[in-house]
Amino acid sequence: MKRFAGLFLVVLCLAGIVWADSALSINGAGATFPYPMYSKWFDEYHKKNANIQINYQSIGSGGGIKQVTEGTVDFGATDGPMNDEQIKAYQDKHGSGILHFPTVMGAVVPTYNVPGVAKDLNFTPEALAGIFLGKVTKWNDPLIAGANKGVNLPANDIVVVHRADGSGTSYCWTDYLSKVSDEWKQKVGKGTSVNWPVGLGGKGNEGVTGTVKNTPNSIGYVELIYAESNKIPYGSVKNSAGAFVKASLAAVSAAAAGAAKDMPEDFRVSITDAPGNTSYPISTFTWLLIPAKFSDAAKRNAIKGFVKWALADGQNYAESLSYAKLPKEVVTKELKAIDKIQ
């Protein structure tokens, strides 16, 4: 009886191996910023192409860069573009290059949980830098109150929440702070993983959202869709033209307008603190990191096919998830660049 059960189990397993292997499995990992978008995309693409399974794990942009360099995943994803050192490291390790492909654009918003304040707050660059440097410690500090006349801010301690993992969202946020605050630039700098002066660490955009949602008097930075879908308030930020702008698709597109025309060949560009009256100052592209060389022809074709789809049909899903579509000029340029994938 026991022998029969054992044999049955073995047969089941072997059957499992044989049956399941017919799907082409592609693995990617990286940014949590576009995860709601990507999980929808890969799900839809799988429905249209049942034999292609693209498994994406949102472990943070730092993880995406690391794992695609190690070669343990087929592609990566990041909202903080790889710097020259990292690109060289990839080149040295694999003998071929790595390509950045922008997929959508999004906004990083300052989200908060202040008891008694349901309105949208206005944040100046000085206030944000001060809060995250640990110099502005109370909600009713003049730097915050000054921009929010008529709002009753409590005298409570601010609980800062940042990312505990290596994050492109952090990259965008610190990139912005480095541009608007010399002190931040010198003390902390910009990157996916910095030495935060103050605050709690949450894992992924998901973790930060969860922490802010559950912690009174907290403030964190997350991608727009995370604040919206969890119904937590997020504030407006003063842009370089002096206007307080609340993150929206139009405002993000306005921020990207200048960059779209001057997009470099490798698509690595920063659009934080962009000029323009209606631009949202903390916007960013998000990129897929795709190796320039694939030894496996099936995978290469599958990925190329997916990128083409993402740049066309895929863009239609973006706005309902609060991501901004790519500017047309960028899409045209990318479609040409797909041929670089060998």
Binding site: I17, N27, Q53, E70, K203, G204, Y226, S229
Partner: protein, 283 residues
């Protein structure tokens, strides 16, 4: 009765009652955990949970079917790796070896047992994931199997040693060779204890999360074969619990209930087997 004696008696009664309170508190925690999981998890368990794949972020209606199957595959692999090494190694220790080698092997097993599970994850990453250039069920199963080895080894050795010498000697007197004695007399005599050891080791690794974080990684779809990343119940619980979506929280509770239920059932069964089995003197 002098007042000093009265005081001493009072202290005695009081302290002994306090110890009773401690014991009750400790046990109450267990029941609280169980109760809470049953309450929250039970409310979230649904047919969807067992049969559906995870839905895209933010959408409801997804399930953990792939995580359940993934965990099963990982545990199967872990057992295939951990049990033979532990079992045969224990036979060597109990039946064949001399003092020094036995000491070294036991020391190594205890060392392995004490390694924090996250460090086992690091080891499996550098040994299996990097060379193969893949996160995989294989790597995850390897990591879990490593953790099963010391438990299986030490317990099996104890139970083998506890088999009465008379059985051994009887078999040898009848002319059986050593390995025949082992396979037909000693192992069957100790089989209940060995089974218990295997079940307990299995239950121990069933709940392990840390070693899987960078070996089995994770998968939103079914994981084909053994060389692809796979979802697993413990990792899903972790991922869903720290996320902000209420639907994911509900699924985390359900998964927690399933996982804990499985582990507790295995533990209870294992102990039941043992208590009804051989009369092994408690060491």
């Amino acid at each position: 009765m002098s007042s000093r004696l009265r005081w001493r008696k009072f202290v005695s009664g009081f302290m002994l009652t306090m110890t009773g309170v401690c014991a009750v508190v400790a046990v109450a925690v267990l029941f609280f955990i169980l109760g809470y999981l049953v309450y929250h998890g039970g409310a979230s368990i649904s047919w969807n949970f067992f049969t559906k794949l995870p839905a895209p972020v933010g959408e409801t209606g997804g399930g953990m079917a792939n995580a359940i199957v993934g965990s099963a595959k990982l545990l199967l692999l872990a057992t295939l790796i951990g049990v033979p090494i532990g079992f045969f190694g224990a036979i060597y220790l109990a039946e064949f070896s001399g003092g020094t080698i036995a000491f070294v092997v036991r020391y190594a097993a205890d060392l392995l047992n004490g390694v924090p599970s996250i460090v086992i994850g690091i080891f499996a990453y550098s040994l299996v994931v990097l060379p193969f250039k893949h996160f995989s069920t294989l790597a995850g199963g390897f990591a879990l199997g490593l953790m099963m080895i010391p438990i299986t080894l030490r317990s099996t050795e104890e139970f083998l040693r506890a088999v009465p010498g008379a059985l051994r000697e009887g078999a040898m007197a009848l002319g059986a060779s050593k390995w025949k004695t082992i396979s037909t007399v000693i192992v069957p005599a100790a089989y209940r204890g060995i089974l218990t050891a295997v079940l307990l080791a299995f239950a121990r690794v069933a709940g392990e999360t840390a070693p899987l974080l960078f070996t089995a990684f994770g998968n939103r779809f079914w994981s084909p074969g053994w060389n692809q990343p796979t979802a697993s119940l413990p990792v899903m619980i972790f991922t869903y619990a720290i996320a902000p979506y209420d639907d994911w929280h509900r699924q985390a509770w359900a998964a927690g209930l399933v996982l804990l239920g499985l582990i507790l059932v295995i533990n209870i069964v294992a102990r039941a087997i043992l208590s009804r089995g051989i009369a092994v003197p408690r060491s």
